[in-house]
Amino acid sequence: MLLRYLAVRLLLIVPTAWILVTVVFFLMRVVGDPISAALGGRLPPDQIEARKEAAGLNRPVLSQYWDYLSGLVRGDFGRSTDNQAIGDIIANYGAATLELVFWALLVAFLVGVPLGRYAARRRDKAADVGLRLFGILVYAAPVFFVGLLLKLIFAVKLGWLPVAGRASTNVELALQHVSPKTNILTIDAILYGDNSYLLDVLKHAVLPAIALGLLTAGIFLRLVRINLIQTLRSDFVDAARARGLSERVVVGRHAFRNAMIPIVTVMGMQIAMMLGGAVLTEITFEWKGLGYQLAQYLQARDFVAVQGIVAFLALVVAVMSFLVDVVVALIDPRVRF
């Protein structure tokens, strides 16, 4: 039954991904073609037409869509206006974003889950009220604002952590010589074998990971709290208490595990949110990943590059949703039926 469930979920990736990339393609066309958007009113109409023709943008939209889709199937995301393959850009910078999202998720878990659990156990007491307020604040505060605040406190005022970048210049240069190179600096630093370099990389990751992770931590906190409160009211929890199990065992072994299921379920959505947040975080902290590149290409009005990167991020979200489904199925056998 599990295999059938997983096979169906795996097959669902295809239409999900197709819908996502199709939406990306047509949304980009809603604002007009890239050349008119960048140069409309600046170039005479005949020159705009000539450029559109050279770029193949005056063909029917469906024909362009077909080329785009068949390119994606071949793994071709197109080329930027500076003639770089979008696939290469994704390969070069995707790892940085992956690293940032990983650390941010870790922060979200380490902050959101224990605090949510603590708040639930102290329901309606001062600690609970304070934590709920904290959850709302970190969720509502814009990433760049939190980032700026963190930088001013921990980098400028206290001088404990670096202001920006993924590593100090000498470390970044040294890690370029690591073989095999993953572009995930934490792993590259481990491969390099110098602990001071690893420490440097980790120190650079702290503030961006907190800025991005707190956003999701607020959601996790509130979800864990509410689910745990509801689970603690369940019959099976009463039964466990009636059997004489300690409150610690009741909460930790029985209620908490059940309360975690919705958290895992919303994780797929949170990853999409984090990828969006990563754009702002990467700009704030000069974290040169896909989000940073996306911002650069937006500034350059390079629609092909933007479309390629956004389509890739959409595919990542589709795959992550599948993985979340798998994890949920493993935790909660009921969803397989």
């Binding site: 500076d82 210049t169 110098d194 980790l202 700009i283 500034q299």
Partner: protein, 517 residues
Amino acid sequence: MAGLALLAVAGCGSGRTGGGGDGGLVIGTTDKIFSLDPAAAYDQGSYVPETQVYQHLMNFGPGKTEPEPDAAEKCGFGTPTVYTCTLKTGLKFANGNPLSATSVKYSFDRMLKINDPNGPASLLGNLDHTDAVDERTVAFTLKNGNDQTFPAILATQAGPIVDEKVFPADRVLDDDAVAEGKPFSGPYTITSYDKNKLVEYQENPDYAGLLGKPKTASVSTKYYASPDNLKLDIQNGAVDVAYRSLSPTDLESLRGNDNVTVHEGLGGELRYIVFNLNTMPGGTPEQKLAVRKAVAASVDRDALSTEVYKGTYTPAYSSVPQGFPGATEPFKDLYGAEPNKEQAAKFLADAGVAAPVELNLQYNPDHYGGSSSEEYAAIKSQLEATGLFRVNLQSTEWVTYQRERARDGYPVYQMGWFPDYPDPDDYLTPFFAPNNFLQNHFEDPAITAQLTAEVTQPDKDKRLAIIRQVQREMADKHISIVPLLSGKQIAITAKGVQGTESTLDPSTKFRYSVLSK
């Protein structure tokens, strides 16, 4: 990954697999490299790396205003139209290929042949052809004799000597191929290249030119998207030198910081608006001129200087900055120091141009600094306050901006200028000669003739008279650009960094080789 990281931090890592990163000098910038190929780049962001890695026949030593031999042993005019250089012996590129007279001929022939719209070929307008006379002798034949500027032009962005075995003769080479080919002969070679992110330079042991042995063996340039991060990093000591471009507010705050020093050098940087004469508003040439004159009469340079730039830039009323021989202020004489709405309206009315004129004004915030956004917002307000213009502002990232502006992409747009050589001609010929670098379709036979006369006039007083005349005529009859502001070169250094003053000189070459800490 977290577990692995913790284990490794706890001391489980071992065995290095590479080298590099010996902790040399770190330079931070918000500027961008457009191209490492000298044929394709004519901007300060590209010239900074070019200055470090390519050798010129002639060059400007730190603090000097006259060019001196660099790769050349000696240079001079044999006849008024033939300039001959003899190369030093044993020159080679970092890849081992020999640097000979044929390399020099190849470099200049290639630049003229490619004639890239973003490149500096326009500086070689007076070069007819180049001959490799023998292994070490190269002869430049000029179209007009007695060119007073040609030795200096050899030291500009038009003059880097490239390796014929690496650079194709008829097309631009992409940056990664340049970095891999190691066609470097300057004080440094590039050892690691991640475009507009991080570039590492190591001392070139084979360089024996004018600039001498670099004071620092290893230098890295870190490229920032945000001037705020650059400011915080120089403040915190994460970078040693910040060169281009922090906001006036940041500079003001850094001036009060004991950990850093703000250096100001002679510069003659110019900020101005360019009109593409083909695509700008106006139905006839006369109407277009009227629009340009109306813009010239409507902008408030003083407000830009004081309100946007806090006095770090001063109003400019000519393309030639004050302080250069022959500099005048024709825009002040003709259009006034203050905005003149009535005069602007009259220009438009006399030419039959209906107001408001729609201006699509393009600017760039990364190469020209974040304050460009404020500067151009202010210009929009000033122009619209007259009721004569409706301005649509749009910004674009530098690499695209540079490409598009040369392809007629922008009818009216922001530009800035750092001189190639410390001479007033460098504020005239590159802007107003045929095939000028602005690529804005300005060409006028009378101005061309005066520029030729100015460049080839050996009598100083007569030459300066022509320079004054060109400035006046450009402001009165043509206005292909509207000068706005001029400024100094500024660099910020962390404690203990030395040598900055000597490179912030009139040549505007930012030489890493003189910096140390």
